[in-house]
């Protein structure tokens, strides 16, 4: 089992969708939101996913396919 931490951004038109709930159902990962800020036109959350590494990667692809932007918790580390 692996746990990886991500920073996820929602575009304006996705803010109301229950994306994290869906991901928990569609993939074998445990979702754990630690911090979030959702406003009218922007939203982000810091999220931990726990599961097999490959399943986490599939879940991340799934979140991207739903229109969200996924970065590691550290944001950009290539300086």
């Amino acid at each position: 089992m692996t746990s990886l931490r991500f920073h996820i951004r929602f575009p304006e038109n996705k803010i109301k969708e229950p994306i994290i709930y869906q991901i928990g159902h569609e993939y074998k990962v445990v979702t754990n939101v630690r911090r979030a800020d959702v406003r009218e036109t922007t939203g982000w959350m810091d999220l931990e996913l726990t599961g097999e590494t490959e399943e986490i990667e599939r879940a991340i692809d799934g979140i991207r396919t739903k229109g969200c932007v996924v970065d590691p918790i550290e944001l950009n580390v290539v300086e």
């Binding site: 990886l4 931490r5 951004r9 630690r34 911090r35 800020d37 922007t42 810091d46 931990e48 932007v69 970065d71 590691p72 918790i73 550290e74 944001l75 950009n76 580390v77 290539v78 300086e79």
Partner: protein, 416 residues
């Protein structure tokens, strides 16, 4: 008691022992070093600092290391140049250039942060250091690791220019080209840092690494005769440098080394990658990530880790932010070279370009004591100015021909 108290979460305030961790277990916020200022205050003084080594390590009392076995003992204490010509050109009386183009050993301000990071990494027991970088950071990590005899991994995107790759290979680190785009390299490095027992300088060692930037504030104040400047103009990539200069100024005040901090902190970016400056100008406390497209590659961070904190520091100081076009970057590089004889890389062009704008807008006033931070050397980014510097005069190997070309002496007339 040690001068380092703990690592503390910048968001929820939870404290951790000062080990190689960088994210709060509770809220995932970033961690930062917290010091025992009472303890430091009882030993630090202007005199003690002035008698210290001729490097940034004269401020060791405010840096997060425990030993005196320093890696990179010559970093910092770069010249603070009184820029009379550039000041006159802009119409400001007291302008200074903090010249980190001559930092030791790899000619950028990154030598400061890397020196702290590797010293701390070794005292935490690491034998291998790593970083993900397209330029200055990789140069500095590879050079310091070579000198310290540490193993080194440098991760780069596979499409990086040959000249930049060579600048790293010379130190013989393990250079790993990752197939894929910036985001792929980024994600991989975050995952490797989580899985392997390495000191990733800008990931799990970042709380220590970032503190090295404070020395730019300390040195400026000491070199100004223990005064804080009225205005500071600082280039931003992740926003860490700006945030830490602000922190450093306040530490000096808290320790009684200066009376008050009256400095306005101003942030500079290139228009092709200006998430922080754009947010500031729109009056937002959050930024929108961007895909970078600018010649200022060393500042091209589209989703900056410290962007939020840079916005906060600038607002608290009542400073400003602005961005310049690539043409203005080139003009800035030329202006600094031709007025002060300092050849800066593109980040320096960004700083000078924004300095010009802030003066024009009246945000920096004629009698403000102003410091512009020039953080990297122009020899590293020559491609940015290659088409903008003109050509040499070409002459036949004859005295007559030379004198004619320059209209001088018996054959040319004019001055002799």
């Amino acid at each position: 008691m040690s001068k380092m108290k703990a690592l503390v979460c910048r968001e929820c305030g939870k404290e951790y022992p000062p080990k190689a961790i960088h994210v709060c277990e509770m809220c995932f916020g970033p961690l930062e070093v917290k010091y025992n200022y009472d303890e430091i205050k009882s030993t630090i003084s202007r005199k003690k600092i002035e008698q210290g080594p001729n490097s940034m390590w004269r401020y060791i009392d405010l840096l997060p290391v425990e030993s005196t076995a320093i890696i990179g003992p010559h970093a910092g204490l770069t010249p603070l140049v009184r820029a009379k010509n550039l000041g006159a050109h802009l119409g400001i009386d007291e302008l200074y250039i903090k010249n980190d183009t001559v930092n030791h050993p790899t000619l950028s301000f990154k030598d400061r942060v890397v020196s702290v990071a590797l010293t701390r990494a070794r005292e935490l027991g690491f034998e291998t250091v790593a970083c993900a970088s397209t330029g200055n950071l990789a140069n500095s990590v590879a050079a310091h690791a070579a000198a310290a005899g540490m193993k080194c991994y440098v991760f780069i995107p596979a499409d990086l220019e040959a000249a930049k790759v060579l600048g790293n290979l010379i130190y013989k680190p393990n250079v790993v080209e990752v197939e894929g785009n910036y985001d792929d390299v980024n994600r991989l490095c975050s995952e490797i840092a989580g899985e392997h027992g390495w000191a990733f300088v800008n990931i799990n060692i970042r709380p220590y690494y970032a503190e090295g930037s404070k020395t730019l504030a300390f040195e400026t104040v000491e070199q100004l005769g223990w005064r804080t400047p009225d205005q500071a103009v600082i280039p931003m990539a992740s926003g860490s440098l700006l945030t830490k200069i602000w922190k450093g100024l306040h530490e000096m005040q808290a320790l009684g080394l200066v009376d008050q901090v009256r400095t306005k902190i101003n942030g500079a970016q290139a228009e092709g990658c200006s998430p922080i400056a754009t947010a500031f100008k729109a009056g937002r406390d959050f930024f929108k990530p961007v895909k970078p497209k600018t010649i200022a590659k060393s500042l091209a961070i589209g989703n900056p880790a410290d962007g939020y904190y840079a916005l906060k520091a600038t607002a608290e100081s009542k400073g400003a932010m602005d961005a310049v076009t690539d043409e203005e970057v080139v003009e800035g590089i030329k202006l600094l070279a031709q007025t002060e004889g300092i050849f800066a890389e593109t980040a320096g062009g960004v700083t000078i370009g924004v300095l010009c704008k802030l003066v024009k807008q009246g945000l920096i006033k004629k009698n403000d004591v102003t410091v512009a931070y020039i953080t990297g050397n122009g020899l590293k980014t020559q491609e940015a100015v290659v088409d903008a510097v003109g050509r040499p005069f070409r002459i036949q190997p004859s005295l007559v021909n030379f004198q004619k070309t320059f209209k001088m002496g018996k054959n040319g007339g004019g001055e002799s």
